[in-house]
Each structure stands twice: as structure tokens, then as C-alpha cells.
């Protein structure tokens, strides 16, 4: 529901510039925005829970009552003046001691105890591995793949890929997640290096797929545009025609492929 089949957006800020974006992200309607926001909140709270579980297991002692100091003096480990002083400045809540006490209180609460009971039987290595995986999923997993091709006449073309899945691989890292689609893996090819832009077919898995490729001078392999999504022929042809029209000049009317091959 949150992703769709790859589809194309074309942006033409000026006659000599065009950006072709192929993405699995559906159009951002209000319900979708809300759903994505809820999903983000869910992922953040999942991350927080995992971190908290790690904290209760490895950093605090299991129960604060066993601590000898607390039994002797019968007062909480943070200074009493925090209770007595009149309205606190907001920064006072963020002091390490206060935060620690908050965590202690949480650990002592019913959900905290429950979490501690849940994690207790797991051996430490398994717990760390599990929480690592969960943290990675919660913080760094990207939902949509977006690939784009920016064409600037006289300058060149730039490909960009932001892949779904582990954001560390797709480029951008944590910052990419925070910003949204920031920090993709990009590649710029100057015009004088471009020999040709063409559509080709290749075997991929159990299929034969169309792909758009840029032949770069001095390189043995072609640069595949939209390498992750490999959109279908319809999109690839639109982009190809757009790129050639933008990079060079628009072909004369009635020439080339337009649903049906024509002889020029």
C-alpha cells in the first residue's frame, strides 16, 4: 500500500534542463502522508524501546532496592532540592542525573519490568544481535526506491539512486533517512564524455528487460540509468526521447519510433 510500481515524474524547470524521476513512492496524498508519519513514529518508538531494553539489561542493576546506599539512607539518588525548588528551568530536566533517574523509574514501572523479564532469558550475544538488527531496521531502513536522471544541456547528465532497503548501502546513511531522500548515490557525466544514450535489452534473472544506458567515452561498461528499478519499456522510451531532446535537439516530427516505427 505504501509503495507502488515504478512510475515516472518529469520536471522541466527550463527548456534546457529536465529531471526524470522514477520512484516507487506513490503520490503524496494526505492519508499517505499521515500513514508515513505514523510509520516513522512507530519506527522511532521501536528504536527507543530497543535502546531502553539494552539499557536495563546492561547498564542499570536489576533492582534499585538492592543497592546498599539506597537502603541505608532512604532517599532517592538524585538531590532532594529538585523537588523543593520552585518551577524548574526546562534545561534542568535534561541534566544527566535527572534523565538517569527517569530511566530508573521507567525500569521499575510495569512495562519496564515486563521488558526486563522478556530479555532476561536471552544470552547477551543474542540480545545484542537482535537489538542491532532491530535498530538497523528501525532507523536506517528506507521504504521507497527513487532514481533520477538530471539532464542539463551543455553540461551533462547526472544519475542519482536512493534505493529501498538498508540506507547504509543506498548512500546517505542516517542523515538520508532524517531528511527524506537526501544523500543519494550520484554520478555526473559531462556532455563531452557522452558518446550515446540508448535503449537496450538484457537478461536479468528469468526475464529480458529493457534498460536505458549511457555510453561513456573511455569506459568499458555502459552506465545503466535507473539500475535498481529497471522500469518498463514505456517509461524508458519516454525518458530516452526526453534525454535526447534535451541533450541534443528534438528530432524532426514523424521520425523514429512513436508507437510504430516510421521511416524517416
Amino acid at each position: 500500500m505504501l509503495t507502488t510500481a515504478p512510475h515516472l515524474y518529469i520536471r522541466r524547470p527550463s527548456p534546457t534542463t529536465a529531471e526524470f524521476t522514477v520512484t516507487t513512492c506513490p503520490p503524496l496524498t494526505l492519508p499517505l502522508r499521515l500513514a508515513l508519519l505514523a510509520l516513522s513514529a512507530l519506527r522511532l518508538s521501536l528504536a527507543a524501546t530497543v535502546l531502553f531494553a539494552l539499557y536495563t539489561r546492561f547498564i542499570t542493576p536489576p533492582t534499585p532496592t538492592t543497592s546498599p546506599t539506597s537502603t541505608k539512607h532512604h532517599h532517592p539518588p538524585f538531590p532532594p532540592q529538585t523537588y523543593t525548588s520552585s518551577p524548574l528551568s526546562p534545561t534542568a530536566y535534561l541534566t544527566p542525573t535527572h534523565l538517569t533517574s527517569l530511566l530508573h523509574a521507567l525500569a521499575a514501572s510495569a512495562p519496564g519490568q515486563h521488558l526486563a523479564r522478556l530479555t532476561a532469558p536471552l544470552p547477551p550475544w543474542l540480545l545484542s544481535a537482535l537489538s542491532g538488527a532491530l535498530l538497523y531496521f528501525a532507523l536506517l531502513w528506507r521504504l521507497h526506491t527513487t532514481e533520477s536522471l538530471l539532464v542539463l544541456r551543455g553540461l551533462g547528465i547526472q544519475t542519482a539512486t536512493t534505493a529501498a532497503g538498508g540506507a547504509l548501502w543506498g548512500g546517505g546513511g542516517l542523515w538520508g533517512w532524517v531528511v527524506g531522500f537526501g544523500g543519494p548515490a550520484t554520478r555526473f557525466i559531462p556532455t563531452e564524455k557522452i558518446r550515446d544514450v540508448l535503449i537496450n535489452e538484457a537478461f536479468k534473472g528469468f526475464e529480458v528487460r529493457y534498460y536505458l544506458a549511457v555510453v561513456v567515452e573511455g569506459e568499458e561498461d555502459v552506465v545503466v540509468v535507473f539500475p535498481r528499478l529497471l522500469p518498463g519499456r514505456r517509461i524508458v522510451e519516454t525518458v530516452w526521447r526526453g534525454v535526447r531532446g534535451c541533450l541534443y535537439e528534438a528530432p524532426p516530427e514523424g521520425y523514429g519510433y512513436d508507437g510504430q516505427w516510421k521511416r524517416g
Binding site: F206, E207, V208, G232
Partner: protein, 488 residues
């Protein structure tokens, strides 16, 4: 307006590898495209030739990545080819799958899958096989499996047809004979070209090539040097021929495991100045080698058709060949001297040919024109097209198979409308079941599994998700040319 088809030629053997099957597929495809059909070729990946390629005339070739096991035949994995085959067939909107060569597992598999997908299939057999040794028995069983459910079979010669009908237990009515052809323009004799230009004007035959009694006669052999090509026979015959006939010499082109035997023979008999070994030659250079000689010697032990002797005759060479397989059908008797496939007879036949040439009894300069009228790829394409029309029901059963066949009670019960084989799974199973006590059941199992895979593929890769290929503009056929070529 004749119907046109989208045809997929499937074989393990295709360019860049040279050979008879390869050039047959290429020439046939080219001529079928000239007749307005769409043709693609599916073969496996060769080194440096992978992916999807276009040849210069717009012929599309899919080099499917597959494991090659023996002499560029792929490993037979009955089902693994299906997903990609289905994808190709759907995106190219194929109607007819045409497999070539009985040693190609790619071809057999695709015929099976094509029938499962409900397509018409044709198989062309290019080679003869024995019945006795283990490899032949296995191949024959495999052939029987595939050909149990094929719409039509094409053989390159009548001998080949006989052989295939026996090997695969086929109804002879569903086997056609369509010979190979040669591109006569590529095999012109050495005589000056201005002569042929004025030729159509005055209908003068080219002047005879006179041979003096002491002129050197050159004997050409072009073949891959394998056992089945009769290289051993050649090794034994050469010293005797050269001994009996002074002023003769040999040119041998080709490579293979038997080349070493030939070289040893040359060393032993000190024939370095009379036998020239050229090593492998490319197909386009064959003509240049041939025109250096007067006699073409073809010692093959088994041959379904023997395109090379047609090429030699087209170059104006007198042909000496063994009387095996389909060879006697290929050329008229005035162009050839036949020998039994044994040393003495081969030496004697070569002697006869040399004597005939020395006596200037043979008009080799006329051979080219004669071969040109006998063999043309356009004609092959027209006849193949007729087969396509027959199996897809465009021409009636009585027309295609003959009137007796249409009425005969013995006519296969599983045939449906106008002699066209039914695609229903139960009918297909019936056909496979008759293949043998155990084999029949095994084959049925394979077919059922294949059908299940087909259903799974339909779920996993739905048809509407597959990109369709745009068609090239098709050529328009000139019907008047048609009639002229067809009547030949």
C-alpha cells in the same frame, strides 16, 4: 494476402560458430523476413557474444546464458529454460517455434515448452544418426520424446527423412523434405565476370576450360577433420592417388582432431610439396580456396545433406564423393563421381574423375548456372512457409497432407481441426504415453511437471507485466515473384 507469422528459431548452434546448421538458420531466417515474417533466433551465449543482439539485417538474436557441455551443445536441464523462454516468446508475440538440429537440447526443450504454452512447433533435422551405439539410442529416445508432440518435421534430404521417421517413430506424412540451399552468388567460379554479363543477352554458354594432358590437377578437400567426415579414409587414399597420378596435388582446409594423422601421413610419404594444409578457413574464404582446384573430394562417412558439395559444384568443381546418406540426392550425376566409402573405391573414383577431366569430357564451367537454378534459399523459405501455413490451418488438411491422408482411417486420432494437433493436455499425454513402457510414463510425468511450471510462471510473472517488443517494419511480399520462385 498471405498470413504472416512471428517465428522463433531455436538452436544451440548459431553464429559466431561456423557450420552448416548455423548458416541454414541464418539464410532461412533472412529469406523468411524478406517474405514479411518476423523472425528471432534463440541460442545460447557464446564467448564474446551474449545478451540480445541484432544482426545487420534486423535479425534479432537472444544469446541465453547457459552452460555448454560438448561441442557447443548445452546441458540438458529439462525445465530450467522455461521461464526465460516464456518471457521471450511472450514479449516477441511468437506464433511458431522452429527448432533445429537433433543434438541441441535447447531446441528439444523449447519445443516441449512451446507446446505447453499452446504454440505451433516445427523441427528441422539436419543430421543422420545410427541406431546401435549407446549415444545414438539415448539421442533417439530424446528425439522421440520431443517429436511425440510436434506439429511438423522438416528433413534436409529423403535419406534424412527415412532416418528420422524410424528414429522417432513418426507418421511419414508429417515429415517434409526441404533441402538446404547455397547462395550461388557467393560461390562463383573463377571465370571472368564480363562473360556472365553478356551471357543473358546471347545465351552463349561460357567457354570450356581446356586442360592439357600435363597440366596440374588440384584436388580440394574442405571439411572439419573428424572421424565422421571420413578423414581416415582421406589419409589412406591420398598417397595412393598421388602415386597413381603425377601432376596432381591436394589442398586440404579445415581443422579437427584428425589433422595430426594427415600431417603424419604427409611426413611419412614426403608429400610436403604436393599436399597443402591450410588449417581452418572462414566460411567466406571457402570459395577462394575452392576455385583453386578442379576436383572436390568429399570422403564423408555420414552426411544428411552435404551443402559443401553443392558449394563446390557451384564453384565449377567436379565432385568426387562417397555414396552415403543424403549425398546421392544432392547433385545430378553429371557433376559427380560416386564411390563406396572405402579406400580402394575412393582411389578408383578419383582416378576416373581425373581421367574424365584430362579428356575434357566434363563441362564444369556450366555447373554454376545449373546449381543456381536448382538451389535457392528463397525457394527453401517458400516451402518452409507452406509448412507453417499447413500447421496453423491456413491451408486445408487435404491440400497440405494430400487427399488420401485426409480421408484415411489410420490418420492419427489425436489430430483435430484440419490436421492440426490439439493442445489439450490429455491429448498431449496420449501422444507421449505411447513412447514406451517406462519412457511413456516418464515422459508423461515430465509433461505434467512442465504444465505445472507453466501455471506457476503465469502466477509469478503475469503476462500483462511483460513488456512487448516493438516490431520492425515488415517487408511486403511481391506475389508475382512468389509464383515464379515457387514454380521452380
Amino acid at each position: 494476402m498471405a498470413p504472416t507469422y512471428n517465428i522463433a528459431m531455436v538452436s544451440d548452434f548459431f553464429f559466431p560458430q561456423p557450420g552448416g546448421v548455423e548458416s541454414h538458420i541464418y539464410q532461412l531466417s533472412t529469406k523468411l523476413m524478406d517474405r514479411g515474417h518476423k523472425v528471432i533466433i534463440i541460442t545460447h551465449a557464446y564467448e564474446g557474444r551474449t545478451g540480445v543482439r541484432y544482426l545487420t539485417n534486423g535479425l534479432k538474436v537472444y544469446h541465453v546464458p547457459f552452460l555448454v557441455i560438448y561441442r557447443s551443445a548445452t546441458f540438458p536441464t529439462v525445465f530450467s529454460f522455461f521461464p526465460i523462454f516464456r518471457n521471450i516468446v511472450l514479449r516477441e508475440r511468437i506464433d511458431i517455434v522452429h527448432g533445429h538440429a537433433s543434438l541441441s537440447s535447447l531446441c528439444h526443450e523449447s519445443i516441449l515448452h512451446a507446446r505447453t504454452m499452446g504454440l505451433r512447433t516445427v523441427f528441422t533435422d539436419h543430421s543422420l544418426f545410427g541406431f546401435a551405439d549407446a549415444a545414438s539410442i539415448l539421442t533417439n529416445k530424446l528425439l522421440k520424446f520431443t517429436l511425440s508432440d510436434v506439429d511438423h518435421v522438416i528433413c534436409v534430404s529423403h535419406t534424412c527423412k527415412e532416418n528420422t521417421v524410424l528414429r522417432a517413430s513418426l507418421d511419414p506424412l508429417m515429415v517434409s523434405v526441404i533441402p538446404n540451399a547455397v547462395v550461388a552468388e557467393n560461390f562463383k567460379p573463377i571465370s571472368n565476370p564480363t562473360e556472365t554479363a553478356s551471357h543473358s543477352f546471347g545465351h552463349n554458354p561460357p567457354p570450356a576450360r581446356q586442360l592439357g594432358p600435363h597440366d596440374t590437377i588440384t584436388i580440394v578437400v574442405i571439411s572439419r577433420l573428424f572421424y565422421n567426415k571420413g578423414t581416415d579414409l582421406l589419409t589412406a587414399a591420398i598417397p595412393r592417388i598421388l602415386e597413381n597420378h603425377p601432376n596432381t596435388r591436394f589442398i586440404i582446409a579445415g581443422s579437427g582432431p584428425k589433422a595430426i594423422d594427415l600431417e603424419q601421413m604427409i611426413e611419412q610419404n614426403v608429400l610436403q610439396d604436393r599436399v597443402e594444409m591450410l588449417g581452418p578457413v572462414r566460411h567466406e574464404e571457402v570459395r577462394d580456396v575452392m576455385v583453386r582446384g578442379h576436383i572436390y573430394l568429399h570422403p564423408s562417412l555420414t552426411e544428411a545433406f552435404g551443402t559443401v558439395i553443392v558449394e563446390a559444384a557451384s564453384c565449377g568443381l567436379y565432385v568426387v564423393c562417397t555414396q552415403v546418406g543424403g549425398i546421392p540426392e544432392v547433385l545430378p550425376s553429371h557433376m559427380t563421381v560416386f564411390a563406396k566409402p572405402e579406400e580402394d573405391d575412393l582411389v578408383a573414383a578419383t582416378g576416373k574423375a581425373i581421367a574424365a577431366l584430362r579428356a575434357n569430357k566434363v563441362r564444369t564451367e556450366l555447373f554454376h548456372e545449373q546449381v543456381k537454378t536448382m538451389y535457392s534459399w528463397t525457394n527453401v523459405a517458400i516451402r518452409t512457409e507452406r509448412v507453417y501455413n499447413g500447421i496453423s490451418g491456413a491451408i486445408s488438411e487435404a491440400d497440405f497432407y494430400g487427399y488420401d491422408a485426409a480421408n484415411a482411417a489410420s490418420w492419427s486420432a489425436t489430430r483435430g481441426r484440419s490436421g492440426v494437433q490439439s493442445f489439450a493436455l490429455i491429448d498431449r499425454l496420449k501422444r507421449y504415453y505411447g513412447c514406451g513402457i517406462w519412457a511413456g510414463k516418464l515422459f508423461c510425468l515430465c509433461v505434467i511437471v512442465d504444465y505445472l511450471i507453466f501455471l506457476i510462471l503465469e502466477l509469478l510473472f503475469p503476462r500483462e507485466k511483460i513488456d512487448m517488443c516493438p516490431d520492425w517494419p515488415r517487408k511486403v511480399v511481391d506475389e508475382s515473384n512468389d509464383r515464379k520462385d515457387g514454380m521452380r
